[in-house]
C-alpha cells in the first residue's frame, strides 16, 4: 500500500524488542508527523533515553526534518539524549522539601554515591537528579526512587534504599 510502512530499520537489529515497540507505535499512529511526541514517549520509555540512531529512525519514518525532532527532544525535560541510569533517584528541592532538609539529603546522596546532581554513575546503575517541586509537598522531604515516591525520608534511610536498589540488580 503506502511506501511509508516499509521504512528500513537501518543499523538496528530487527530482533531488538525495543525497536519493535517503536515500530508498532509508528504503525498505530499511522506514521503521522503530529504523533511525534507520542512516539518519542514510547522510545524514551523503551530505552530510558533517546539514542541518536532511534531518533534518526523516527525522523525518517515520519518524514520530519531532523532539526525539528531534535528541537522537540531538547525542549521537553521528559526526553533525554543521555542515559539517565538504570535506577534514578530524583530529589525534590521545592520550597517545602527544602525547608524540611532536602539539601542535607542531596548532599548525603552526592557524598555517598560520589555523584553530583544530573550525573550518572560510571557503571550506569544510578542517576541522580533534582526537581524544583514534584507536587508532593505534604510528604516533604520527598525523593522519587525509580518512579516510587519516598515520603519524609532521612539521609541515612535513602542511602540504604538506594544501596538496596543497586544491590538487587
Amino acid at each position: 500500500m503506502k511506501s511509508d510502512t516499509a521504512v528500513p530499520v537501518k543499523d538496528m537489529p530487527k530482533t531488538d524488542p525495543r525497536m519493535k515497540l517503536i515500530a508498532a507505535k509508528l504503525k498505530k499512529e499511522n506514521f503521522k508527523a503530529d504523533a511525534l511526541i507520542e512516539i518519542l514517549h514510547t522510545a524514551q520509555n523503551a530505552y530510558g533515553y533517546l539514542p541518536k540512531e532511534v531518533l534518526s529512525y523516527i525522523t525518517r519514518a515520519l518524514h520530519l526534518p531532523p532539526s525539528r525532532v531534535y528541537s522537540t527532544v531538547t525542549f521537553y525535560h521528559f526526553f533525554s539524549l543521555k542515559s539517565k541510569g538504570e535506577h534514578t533517584c530524583l530529589v525534590c528541592t521545592g520550597t517545602a522539601c527544602y525547608v524540611k532538609g532536602a539539601q542535607a539529603i542531596l548532599n548525603e546522596i552526592e557524598r555517598g554515591m560520589g555523584l553530583k546532581a544530573g550525573q550518572v554513575s560510571a557503571d550506569n546503575k544510578l542517576g541522580v537528579q533534582v526537581a524544583r517541586c514534584i507536587g508532593a509537598c505534604g510528604l516533604a522531604p520527598a525523593v522519587v526512587l525509580d518512579d516510587e515516591v519516598q515520603a519524609k525520608v532521612t539521609p541515612g534511610e535513602i542511602i540504604q534504599k538506594i544501596n538496596a536498589k543497586i544491590g538487587t540488580l
Binding site: 531518533l55 526534518p65 531532523p66 532539526s67 531534535y70 531538547t74
Partner: protein
C-alpha cells in the same frame, strides 16, 4: 458589495487611516510611513512576535501587543511612540546586546547590521544589564557559509526562511531559556547537514553577523533581506 464595505478606519498616533481588515498593525504602519522597530519580522515569512520590539499600545487593552501579530480592527486606537513603549524598546535592545557576545568592532557585519542600526535608533550608549558572555561556537564546517552563534539574537528568521521559503528545514531551535541555540539537523555541524541545500537564504534573512559567507572581507558584507519577499511574491505569480 461596494468597495467601502471592505475598509475600516483606525487611528494610529492621532492619524486617521483607512485600511483593509485582515492586515496587521505593522503592515498598516509601514504602508503609511509610521516607523516601527522590528527584529524578528521579515516580509515573506510568518510573523511570530518574538522580539517584542514592535509592541504598541492599544486603547482599551492593558498590555502591550506586538504590532506584527495583531490584526487591525475597526475604530482601533493605536499608539506607537509613547514613553512607555520607548522605555521597553530600550530595555529589549539592551537585553539583545547583553545576551550574547556582540562586539561590533570585530564583527563581519559592522555597518550592515540591523541590530547595530537598532542600537543607534534607540540611542543606546550603555547597557544597564550584566553581559552573560556565553561560550558560543562558530561553525565553519559549511564550505561557503559561517554560523557564528556569538552574534545570533534568536530572531529565528533563518529557521522560518529555511522552512517556509526553501522548504529544507535545516535549521531549528534547541533547548530553552538562555540555553537556546540554532541547530542544523541533529545539532550536527552545518557542513554535515543532510537537509541544507546551501541556497543561502538564511544568510540574507539573518539581521546580524551570525550567518555570513566565507568569501568576504570585513566591511564588505552585503545582505539582501528584501529578496526573500520578492521570491515569495514571484512564486505566487501564475505563469
Amino acid at each position: 458589495m461596494n468597495c467601502y464595505m471592505n475598509t475600516i478606519s483606525i487611528i494610529i498616533d492621532d492619524q486617521k487611516l483607512e485600511t483593509d481588515p485582515g492586515k496587521t498593525i505593522l503592515e498598516v504602519c509601514r504602508e503609511n510611513g509610521i516607523d516601527i522597530l522590528t527584529m524578528c519580522h521579515l516580509k515573506g515569512v510568518l510573523d511570530i512576535g518574538a522580539c517584542r520590539l514592535c509592541l504598541v499600545e492599544i486603547e482599551g487593552v492593558n498590555k502591550l501587543l506586538s504590532a506584527c501579530t495583531t490584526k487591525v480592527a475597526a475604530n482601533m486606537i493605536v499608539r506607537t511612540n509613547t514613553d512607555r513603549i520607548k522605555k521597553y524598546q530600550r530595555i529589549t535592545t539592551e537585553l539583545f546586546f547583553a545576551e550574547r557576545n556582540h562586539v561590533c568592532a570585530v564583527c563581519v557585519a559592522n555597518g550592515k547590521c540591523e541590530l547595530q542600526d537598532l542600537g543607534y535608533k534607540v540611542g543606546l550608549d550603555h547597557i544597564r544589564y550584566p553581559h552573560l558572555f556565553p561560550q558560543c561556537e562558530v561553525d565553519t564546517s559549511h564550505p561557503w557559509y559561517v554560523m557564528d552563534h556569538n552574534r545570533c539574537i534568536m530572531c529565528t528568521r533563518c529557521v522560518r526562511v529555511c522552512n517556509e521559503v526553501e522548504g529544507a528545514h535545516n535549521w531549528d531551535v534547541m533547548n530553552r531559556g538562555h540555553q537556546v541555540r540554532i541547530i542544523s539537523d541533529f545539532n550536527s555541524p552545518w557542513g554535515e547537514s543532510e537537509t541544507c541545500t546551501s541556497c543561502g537564504k538564511c544568510l540574507h534573512a539573518c539581521p546580524t553577523g551570525a550567518i555570513w559567507p566565507k568569501a568576504i572581507v570585513q566591511g564588505q558584507l552585503q545582505k539582501n533581506p528584501g529578496m526573500i519577499n520578492e521570491l515569495v511574491e514571484k512564486r505566487k505569480m501564475k505563469l
